[in-house]
Amino acid sequence: MVRIDTELLSNRRVAEGYFELRFRWPAAAGAPVPGQFLTVRAREGSDPLLRRPFAFASHDGTRDEATIVIQERGSATRALATLEAGAKLDLLGPLGHGFAFPERGTEPVLVAGGIGVGPMLFLRAALDAAGVSSRFVLGARTAALVPEALLPRGAGVEVRTDDGSLGAKGTAADAVTALLPEARAALYACGPAPLMAALDRIAAERGWPYQAAVEEWMACGVGACMGCAVPLKGGGFLRACADGPVLDGSLVKWD
């Protein structure tokens, strides 16, 4: 984990309100694994005040580059969306724990809901590189919110939209439900809470392992402030930043 001032290499719009930021990520900063994140200080001064967390969406160790995919939501993401190549980026990472590779004999099923796409792209690439084939399901509200240029090539890639404007109509969870119950799937997911909760139910029913990348408001990002508490079914909390963001999805109280 390091804090570095690095350089934005490119910034391109990949869907409506979605941007892929490619930046220099030197080897000395440490190689991120899928599921890990970084935090960025969008501006000096106090508006916005806190660093903002984003999942690594790719890492290229040979070129010392990495990417994040962001969705414009508020002041920080708006500022990031308008940055141009050459801009300085104040980054802190890699943070948190990433995904574990699937056990032998299970087929990884990667599920991305909306802007949850970044870490799943990175995981897919890592599995590909390791020669592990996987399914990839992306759910979005509508076609305009699908970053088509980023979608993995190869087999087993599926898109679902709520309005049927791209891929089959339905949710990403529907696509998972459609898998054979006898399959020995290993679920990996990042997305909005309702999707995560639905996958939890499917995983529980079928006895599939479920690695979930969670999102919570963060202040420190390093485990010091106890701000990013993720409530657990059994009571108590885990810290999204330091215990996660990848958690055993069956433990999390998704409500």
């Binding site: 508006d47 806190l50 485990g223 402030c225």
Partner: protein, 321 residues
């Protein structure tokens, strides 16, 4: 003739390098420099270890320790507001026993001073935490977080009643001879009264300010942003409130005042020192810039050099008007 004069070259023209004395005495404890990291923003000193060398700083004020382990409040616990941060962490901590077992040894081994922030729901809670740590060998000092709700007075915070502040301070005072700091709540009509109560009951210093009561509402979701509805406001937004508090307190008590609230830069810290603080703490700023406390320290030292100020405690005397 101070150090100031002594180091000036005879001719008065060429100035020799000037080395200000950064140390600050708080009760029996001498801090290497006036900059600490605030309770709740730096854990127990481990999490930020890779990013900031704590031992360059004057002091670490730990996350609160309570007798029993506490899971903390429901989520969400954080919300950003204009130049501010609302939190309702709820004293999440491993409890006294685990603290002594897992955290205390590392704290005792630190070169920078470690002060344990202590919280409780009864006077006895505070005493038990301090007695427990003392029995385990002690630390450099204690900071009493009196912003906690007092179960005996229907949840009113200890820190809003001078009599309760005096009671908890004097009870803990009997349990330790080490440096005892009372951390004052700004959510009172006159913070000088609670400061005087702490002083009268034997506190070695007061720190101010803890967070202001605040609330933010998610208009889209039509619910409070924090699960606990209200929370504590910190960050640059509260700096003017903290500086005013320190200015007033420092003119009402004789013990040292440790200033905090919204310090992001050395200039912010100098506002507090000029207002009357003897030392400062950096809290929320660390979240924006993990090196903030260190930059604050560097900047204070540079300023003292530039203005040839010999001791940190001299700074408050430089306020004019």
């Amino acid at each position: 003739m101070g150090l100031n004069e002594a180091t000036r070259a005879p001719g008065g023209a060429a100035q020799e390098p000037f080395a200000p004395d950064l140390s600050v005495r708080i009760g029996p404890l001498v801090l290497a420099n006036p900059v600490g990291v605030a309770s709740g923003t730096f854990g127990y000193g481990e999490e930020y270890a890779a990013l900031l060398d704590l031992d360059t700083l004057g002091a670490l004020y730990t996350k609160a320790v309570t007798v029993e382990p506490r899971a903390g409040n429901p989520a969400p616990r954080l919300a950003e507001t204009p130049s501010g941060l609302l939190n309702s962490i709820g004293l999440a901590n491993p409890g006294l026993e685990a603290f002594i077992r897992d955290k205390l040894p590392a704290l005792r081994a630190r070169r920078c001073a470690a002060l344990v922030n202590v919280a409780g729901a009864t006077v006895d809670d505070y005493v038990r935490v301090v007695e427990g740590i003392e029995a385990a060998g002690g630390v450099d000092g204690y900071e009493l977080n009196v912003s906690c709700p007092n179960v005996k007075s229907g949840g009113m915070a200890f820190g809003t009643d001078p009599a309760l502040v005096a009671l908890v301070t004097e009870s803990v005072r009997r349990a330790t001879k080490r440096t005892l700091v009372v951390k004052l709540s700004p959510n009172v009509t006159d913070i000088r009264e609670t400061a005087r109560a702490a002083e009268g009951a034997g506190a070695d210093a007061v720190s101010a300010i803890n967070t202001l009561v605040g609330m933010a509402i998610d208009v889209k979701a039509r619910r409070p942003r924090l699960a606990m509805k209200t929370g504590g406001l910190s960050g640059p937004a509260v700096k003017p409130v903290g500086v005013a508090a320190v200015y007033r307190i420092s003119r009402a008590v004789k013990i040292p005042v440790i200033g905090l609230g919204g310090i992001m830069t050395a200039e912010d810290a100098l506002e507090y020192l000029l207002a009357g603080a003897d030392a400062v703490q950096v809290g929320t700023a660390t979240f924006a810039d993990p090196g903030a406390a260190f930059h604050v320290l560097e900047g204070i030292e540079a300023w003292m050099r530039e203005h040839r100020v010999a001791r940190v405690s001299d700074i408050k005397g430089l306020l004019e008007g």
